[in-house]
Symmetry: C2
Subunit: 313 residues, 2 copies
């Protein structure tokens, strides 16, 4: 370890939207305004220790905590599994919200710790470590949320064997508005209702949209992004789990949204917009639809982050 | 009509590769070196007349000819169905080759005639007219070949209802090598062996690759293009119709190709390469594999066209 090494670091780790419409299981994005805050410190006591979690009732035992297991995977590959690292977490993302709560903690932990290791690991490795947190959280080491949390912007997970993650171009004026209805949708239930087989013609429509969405991002063509934000495979099935989904989507588009869909496996719903004004108008529309429903909700408005996990203070 | 109007025009209309690997039914590309040559003339005799076809045994009757029906659709929308247009065609693309023979004639006819109409129609309209030629040729008005023939480069057909075609960025040094085994694969047969349902996990892999391919084109990232040139849905089924397909693909990649697949519905096979040297090495490899097989073949080596149909002479 070099002499300039930091002994502690504080990071912001963003909330993320996975399953961006047609890009089910492959395209995710990072938010700028909502995320966990974490502090990591080199410690004399060996091993990973979670010293405090504020804002959510989550296990402190490292082996049972997504940040803990991600860090343990990292230290293992670093060749110093007994290196002492302390972590304290301020959760601003509610677990079960569908905007990457576990991913933010796992990604923030390894990206923060990487600062303490003088940026020893490239982003691809950090994604692999953080995926171990996802394995603990939901049984599958998926990268949909940890990839944008670490890389920022839009990311595409092309392949898992081998892991191949591409950071896509992100137009500067793209914003996201997320409504999180305070209901529980278990990822396992949301997975369970999907069909294992799909119609070839629907799949073709979906990959046409994926190609168009990626082209729209690179061209910064907001109209094309809007047309491509369509999911003919998963949304028709999963949207029944979310109160007022179709009304929400239709009226948010009338209010200026480019389009959107279910965030992750729900229950949050995201809408993309060009510019802050539209994103805020969409938030107001979401509020006007959800306020009479008697379902509690939270709304987040954020520019798409281009940074991913970042050092703060 | 304005006074500067041309009374005749000669065009080159490129061969095209549809179903570019993962981009089945949506991504196509235009070749630069291989294509039909066509001459169009304003005539005093009303209606569309095909005066000569060189190089292939195709119907001269306009209503039975792909160029004829495409032109008739165009003149109908122009509001002058009785305008006299004569067409002569030099076919350099063999019908049934899988590199867009009918599309080249239909696209060349309408893009050429559009010159005689002072560029009255935008490319999107020309694609719609040329699709009428495809309807005659194969029963379905698909745009996979006519879109790249008219727009040049790589194109993506996002949607048919409404028609939404996107011209993708095309890296300058991208070449294509095509081998056309002289065997017959009927489009209807190639369609018939496809399954109507596919596994969701295969579809996800496919659209991850489509997104990555489009990103690779915009980034001019040849390694990414190479990784994304994978088709887990259609190629495993259709490749059995093509002699030595797997050997061809494997050894062409060893010879320097980025990757490739079946062109259109076959029997042609295409491989993309970075630079002319690699494309020519791939051609030599194709030859060495096919020469001992006793199947006649033609090989085409070409830069990816960025022009589409273009005026010559």
């Amino acid at each position: 370890m070099s002499k300039q090494q930091l002994s502690s670091v504080k990071v912001f780790s963003p909330a993320t939207v996975a399953n961006v419409a047609c890009g089910f299981d492959v395209i995710g994005l990072a938010m700028d305004g909502t995320g966990d805050e974490m502090e990591l410190r080199i410690s004399d006591q060996p091993g990973v220790r979670i010293t405090a979690i504020e804002g959510a009732d989550l296990p402190l035992e490292a082996a049972q905590n997504v940040a803990g297991v991600a860090l343990m995977a990292m230290l293992q590959e670093y060749g110093q599994p007994e290196l002492g690292i302390e972590v304290s977490i301020k959760k601003n993302i509610q677990p079960g919200s569908g905007i990457g709560s576990s991913a933010a903690s796992a990604a923030g932990a390894v990206a923060g710790a990487n600062k303490l290791l003088n940026d020893h690991f490239p982003p691809e490795s950090l994604i692999r470590f953080a995926m171990e947190g996802e394995r603990l959280a939901c049984g599958t080491p998926h990268a949909d949320n940890v990839a944008p949390a670490i890389m920022g912007g839009f990311t595409l997970v092309r392949s898992y064997q081998p892991l191949d993650v591409i950071r896509l171009h992100t137009p500067e004026d793209l914003w996201v508005t997320v409504i999180h209805p305070q209901i529980e949708v278990k990822t396992s239930d949301a997975r369970g209702i999907l069909k294992q087989q799909v119609l070839l013609r629907d799949a073709i429509r979906q990959w046409g949209n994926v190609g168009a969405l990626v082209a729209g991002l690179y061209r910064e063509d907001y109209a094309l992004i809007s047309r491509a934000l369509e999911d003919v495979i998963v949304e028709p099935i999963r949207s029944i789990l979310i109160p007022a989904f179709h009304d929400l989507k239709l009226r948010c588009k009338e209010a200026g949204a480019l389009g959107g869909g279910i965030s992750g496996s729900g229950p949050s719903v995201f809408m993309l917009s060009k510019g802050a004004d539209n994103a805020n108008a969409v938030a107001a529309m979401m509020e006007s639809i959800y306020a009479p429903l008697g379902v509690d909700y939270r709304i987040h408005v954020s520019r798409i982050s281009t940074a991913g996990v970042r050092v703060i203070d």
